[in-house]
Symmetry: C2
């Protein structure tokens, strides 16, 4: 049985829940309150010494942290990950792009603005905003010429990128500036069932959330 250590407000956790729902795979969900200190215990350090969610426990190997590693592992031998080596490489390429370019910009900005950790006009916000905007520009150009990110099909690359990109407005971006991204979000949401069964990940419970200037 799969066991997912999961924080409801995290986009990295959301992407794993989304794939599990689309795979129709049952799992035990272990809620982790990251603001309540749940990741600071010795037990949690044994699951993930980096003290982050999500972590997947399986019957086969050691606990598996890192959302995109979990996506690839769960997707092996399913329609969500191509078997062709060159196509698999492109799926991984976009998943690494997500961690390197989308997380520091869009996800980092969204978290800090919603929780009031950064002032909207600070230098740090401007730097993250530029990084996230560049990532959205790259995605917009790439998706202007194809339906999905890699291998001409819906894959874990799309799930991995969708998680934070579809809430980019909460980091102050106007997705109307990235029309190809907006159309791709519609395709991701339209082509697969179960999207509406998922608990949405809204950071209403994040400490300081009331101070946000973004909706």
């Amino acid at each position: 049985m799969l066991r997912l250590h999961d924080y409801a407000g995290s986009g990295n956790c959301y992407k794993v829940r989304l794939l599990l729902a689309q795979l129709d795979r049952p799992y035990e969900r272990v809620p982790v309150d990251i603001f309540g200190g749940d990741t600071l215990t010795d037990d949690f350090a044994r699951l993930n010494p980096a003290r982050e969610t999500p972590v997947l426990e399986t019957d086969e190997g050691p606990p598996l942290p890192q959302s995109n590693a979990i996506l690839v592992h769960l997707a092996e031998r399913t329609d969500f990950l191509p078997g062709d080596p060159a196509e698999r490489a492109q799926v991984l390429r976009w998943l690494f792009f997500e961690q390197a370019e989308v997380i520091p910009g869009i996800a980092g900005l969204r978290f800090r603005l919603i929780t009031g950790r950064l002032e909207p006009d600070s230098r740090a916000v401007k730097s993250r905003r530029a990084m996230g905007g560049a990532a959205l520009g790259v995605l917009n150009g790439h998706l202007g010429e194809r339906e999905f990110l890699a291998a001409e099909r819906y894959s874990v690359a799309d799930i991995g990128l969708y998680a934070y990109v579809h809430v980019a407005h909460e980091a102050g971006y106007d997705l109307a500036d990235y029309p190809a991204v907006q159309r791709w979000i519609g395709r991701v949401e339209g082509t697969r069932r179960h999207m509406n069964d998922l608990e949405p990940y809204r950071p209403n419970a994040w400490p300081g959330a009331g101070r946000s200037i973004y909706g």
Copy 2:
């Protein structure tokens, strides 16, 4: 024939050259001068719209950016990537950890300090220093109990992490504070041939390098 678009001063490029050397795979190296504007051309945007090195061209698929996606692709069906699904997942876990936790901290700090883009006592340096230190702490704990990062063998996980971790002193870290990491660096450097054939990646040519306070 493989063709690697490569910037000599980049750790992300270095890791690909290291794997190619250890695999004994011939390739054409295309030097890219990132400070000279080589990544700003339309031709380069077709290779990688994110305008970053490395990019690998192969005979099979589209150009492949993202250093860790390149490592995994080249390592398929070799000793550098296990076939067991749970072991492969752990290799990917550490490669994603590298992009998420090591690059923004150690690599980002090293680049900005060497090129004089950040003052050593600025708030941005302190934030990156803490992030890189946390990553080194995680690695030190993990490597205190095992010889290599994943699957009880030397793999692309070790190559991916080695690239920036072995030059962490250039970002102001003292690796003596992380003795298990230091021993692992010795194992990485000791167990494989070709390490000495590689062009070292020293950022002597980076603009502003003379202003660094770190050796």
